[in-house]
């Protein structure tokens, strides 16, 4: 019993220490560096970190020097075995309305150790709700749209399936 207690204490200490001392802001900067090589840059007004994650405020997204979108805030949370990235009030540039959903009020991507080959996505916006998955093994993105209303602007980029409209792309 003593051994179990000791083992548990060691595990908790390591887990908390890893989360506590994790240089979250620098990891985010590394992510920016990786995205920068793809021509994507994020300009944020404020970055703040806490025990379990990182919060961004007032983010502008640039692709190859062109501002394509902005969002009010984003939150990255990690428990090491369970990581989420959520985006609030995403607004794409109006000129891209035929390609991107113009307004996404909330979007969340989830990665969990028990589903290591997939990243789950959920979105809500002017198009209704949508759920999707990024398959890391097949390098594909598939998003199913729950609602048929409000899809007119982006319908050209969607396909019609048995369950309704969906978006599919190779990554």
């Amino acid at each position: 019993m003593q051994m179990v207690k000791r083992g548990l204490a060691v595990f908790l200490t390591i887990w908390i220490a890893i989360l506590l001392f994790m240089p979250k802001q620098q990891i985010y900067f590394k992510l920016e560096e990786v995205l920068g090589k793809q021509g994507i840059k994020l300009n944020e007004e404020r970055v703040s970190e806490d025990l379990f994650g990182l919060t961004l405020e007032g983010v502008h997204v640039y692709m190859k020097g062109v501002e394509v979108a902005k969002f009010k805030g984003a939150r990255m949370t990690t428990l090491l075995f369970y990581t989420t990235v959520s985006v609030e009030d995403f607004e794409a540039d109006k000129s891209l309305a035929s390609v991107l959903p113009a307004d996404v009020t909330y979007a969340e991507a989830l990665y969990a150790l028990w589903d290591p080959l997939n990243i789950r996505i959920e979105m809500e916006g002017s198009f209704g709700g949508a759920r999707g998955v990024v398959s890391l093994s097949e390098r594909t993105l598939h998003v199913d749209f729950n609602d048929t209303k409000g899809l007119d602007a982006i319908r050209g980029a969607l396909k019609k399936g048995e369950k309704g409209w969906y978006y599919e792309a190779d990554l």
């Binding site: 060691v10 390591i14 240089p23 620098q26 590394k30 840059k41 190859k64 000129s95 891209l96 007119d152």
Partner: protein
Amino acid sequence: MKPIFSPTLLKTVSEMLLLVLLIKVVWFAVEVVFLPATGIDHIEQKRIKPLYYRVKLTPNRVTMPKPVKPSKPVGNIKDIVLLGIYSDDTFTVVTIRYKGKSKVLGKGESVNGFTLERAGATYAVFSKDGKEYKITLKKGKEVGDAIKTVAKPKAPEPKKEQEAPEGDIVDAGDHKIIDRSLLDYYGKHLDKIYENIGIQEIVRKNKIEGFRVSFVKRGSLFSKLGLRRGDVLKAVNGEPLTSYKAAFDVYKNINEVQNMTLLIQRGKQEMELEYEVN
């Protein structure tokens, strides 16, 4: 003397603290060796935009010539054969045969230029150019089986949103006239542009030198712009196209443009294409 803390507890706590310290050192090492200290921000390249002038020497703006529709040959009422009639107080529908095909016409609908006005028990009245024409119902072998079935007119299908733009691009000699509705349409449908024209950046020494036209769909409106495959777009209204932002700014502000001068390189020759938006 009994110690205040048990030696085992002290040892355990020390080990834990050592472990925490070790993790801190590892993270510090990772931070120093692998992680950047600052992020990458996009810096807006601001510079004074040169004023763009286009001097127009002609006194009046050239107006968009309206496309002349080819006049249709005058139809003959004898080409229409009345096969069946359904008529009541509120509803009139007839079946006719025109050019070998049977058609169902509702009141107000036209065929061969003749509009159905009303119908009686054995006749239908059509109008054209203010004149009325009466056709009587054919019977028996003259019409075969067609008289037996009189279908109700189909409910009008809901009109789809106008997809294709209605305007045109007209060659006016030294310049081309673009209908503004085209700019409005393509300003909202970026994806439709790429269906008709392919544009690729030309990068030399990490700098964009222009955008090459990789294809132009034959017969499309973009082919009327005078662009050809292989042309390099160098500048629009004096603004060099040396970044994606410059190109995208042109696209975003295209609705406000009155005149446009496109500097292109065709082969080794540079030339200007002039456009007027009307």
